[in-house]
Amino acid sequence: MSVATVSLSGVGKAFGPATILHDVSIEVAHGEFVALVGPSGSGKSTLLRMIAGLEEVTSGEIRIDGRVVNDVPAKARDVAMVFQNYALYPHMTVAQNLGFALRMRRLPRAEIGRRVGEVARSLNLEELLDRYPRQLSGGERQRVATGRAIVRQPQVFLFDEPLSNLDAALRVHVRAELRALHRKVGVASIYVTHDQVEAMTMADRIVVLRGGRIEQIGAPLDLYDRPASIFVATFIGSPAMNLLSGIRTGDTLVTPDGVALPIRTDCLGKEGEPLTLGIRPEHVLLAADGVALRVEAVEQTGADTMIMARLGAAEVTVVRRERIDVAPGAHVHVQLPQEHHHYFDAEGRRLPAL
């Protein structure tokens, strides 16, 4: 791999006594699309703003294209950003918005016009060039914001939850557009979102942040298949992974309600110690016998049936791609196939299978 376009090593951020990012190290390769996900307060937006040069770096190093940029002002970093609320210049037309960065670089007028026209064509903004931002719909503003970033041909794109102000249907559409655009432009992109579906569908790699620390970095399906912690296991995937806690007793996990669930013999959990078994909703099988669950609610989406049930105090969700006729209050029996088990220790860290 060539030199990473963006490289963070040991980056930390403190606001006064409050440390909100600890020792974050990430490498983003040329052309890679990396999503930063995490709940609010996990520091993902702050991290993005630090890469942009809008926040100072307390510790560690940020490099862009090999150059340390800790003390380089935002305007000299060759980084473009799409903001959550788009941050279009309200007093400028779409064309002026798109051309602002080029005017700042004192490009010749003809060149500015050519590049603005090119971007407007590729984003379907040609009809809107003379409009002001207040005359645009949410989706159109989003496209202008994206266009303003593209027109500069920067080394890095930063996205700060660019789709969160769009309605659901539009979001899916723009998501696909942004993906296609990234494939075409091929510029390293860092994308902040709290929506794991967005991260899963768009990113080459996902960085999960929690409380200012990296919880896990990996390809979307790796995170899905081998979550490093209970946090990642429940954050990635919807509905979330089922978690059944108990004490390891021989080759079973005994829940607080006294149910013994068989576990794999190669599970590394220690005898007599707390253990959590995780299993994704779609891996739970309905069967004639097995663990008995009490059904609490049933949701039919047409294609899927989602059964929310309880095993003692623990909630278990089952998703099957079929129509299942079951009423709340009834009991169902399920099998938890061992090849789909995930095991976590008392601290919530993944226990590797032997």
Binding site: R49, A52, G53, L54, P73, A74, K75, A76, R77, V79, A80, M81, F83, Q84, N85, A87, L88, Y89, P90, H91, F100, A101, M104, R105, R134, R148, R152
Partner: protein, 291 residues
């Protein structure tokens, strides 16, 4: 056509009354400017001039230093307005958007300044101008000359900065979204360019509002101007000139001239207001709706 709603009629009636209350004194003044001296002295006084003396407006320029007064007023008021707009916008932007140590303290000082009415400052500022070193014939210790007294600087400089302007502009700058400023930074704009190309256009309604306030206030300012132009009649402004006229002529024969001068003195303010009212109205309502 539908008959107007009774409530709408009431509203128009109230507005008409208000408009009349505002316009009548002006109309009265205007009529007064057209009377002949005989009409003024007649008993009972003639209210509607039978022979409107339009020449009174020209005589004002012939017989009084009206042109000088007008030029002084326009120059001094414009200079003060321009300076205040510049200093207020810059300081207001800094106080609104830059987090540097001491910002809060400075804001408190700005607001604290309002506790001192200008009349309290007349004497100290007078002495500051009088004893300023090396200017107006003064030596290094501020002795020997008259300092800046009797100069345009004395009329303009004390009003170059105002706490009110700074505070008003800060409020308008707070309304400029941080993300827009950040976006400009990423787009390669330096801080001063952001101020010029992003912040100033966005606070234009505020600038227009402040501009009108300052222009009207200083156009009518009398006390300070009288204080520092004593012995420098070439610097007198329109309101001061008119004010001094009252004392200069005890008889009422020149009342028509005075009234004509007053009519003329109102014109520039009206022009400024008409030119800026579009922004002014927007400025007063800005912030009431989330833009």
């Amino acid at each position: 056509m539908r008959p107007p709603h009774p409530l709408a009629l009431l509203r128009y009636a109230a507005l008409t009354l208000g408009a009349l209350a505002m316009a009548l004194p002006f109309a009265d003044m205007f009529l007064g400017a057209l009377r002949t001296p005989q009409e003024l002295l007649a008993v009972p006084q003639v209210y509607w001039p039978r022979d409107p003396q339009w020449r009174n407006f020209a005589r004002v320029f012939d017989e009084l230093p009206m042109a000088t007064w007008l030029a002084n007023s326009v120059f001094v008021t414009s200079a003060i307005t321009l300076l205040q707009l510049i200093t207020s916008a810059m300081a207001g932007y800094a106080l609104a958007k830059f987090r540097v140590p001491g910002t809060t303290l400075m804001l408190r000082l700005v607001l604290g300044a309002q506790m001192f009415p200008f009349f309290l400052l007349i004497i100290p500022i007078f002495f500051l101008l009088r004893f300023v070193p090396l200017l107006g014939g003064n030596d290094l210790w501020g002795q020997g000359g008259s300092g800046l007294l009797g100069s345009y600087a004395a009329l303009v400089l004390p009003f170059a900065v105002s706490w009110y302007g700074i505070f008003l502009m800060r409020q308008f700058c707070l309304g400029v979204p941080d993300e827009v400023i950040d976006a400009a930074r990423l787009d390669g704009a330096g801080e001063f360019r952001i101020f010029l190309t992003i912040v100033l256009p966005l606070i234009r309604p505020g600038l227009a509002t402040l501009g009108i306030f300052v222009f009207v206030y200083h156009w009518n300012e009398v006390i300070w101007t009288i204080t520092v132009t004593r012995g420098a009649s070439g610097l007198q402004t329109l309101p001061v000139g008119i004010y001094l006229l009252r004392g200069a002529f005890a008889d009422q024969s020149t009342e028509a001239l005075q009234r004509a001068a007053i009519c003329i003195s109102v014109l520039p303010v009206m022009l400024v207001f008409l030119g800026l009212q579009r922004f002014y109205v927007r400025g007063l309502t800005a912030g009431s709706v989330k833009g």
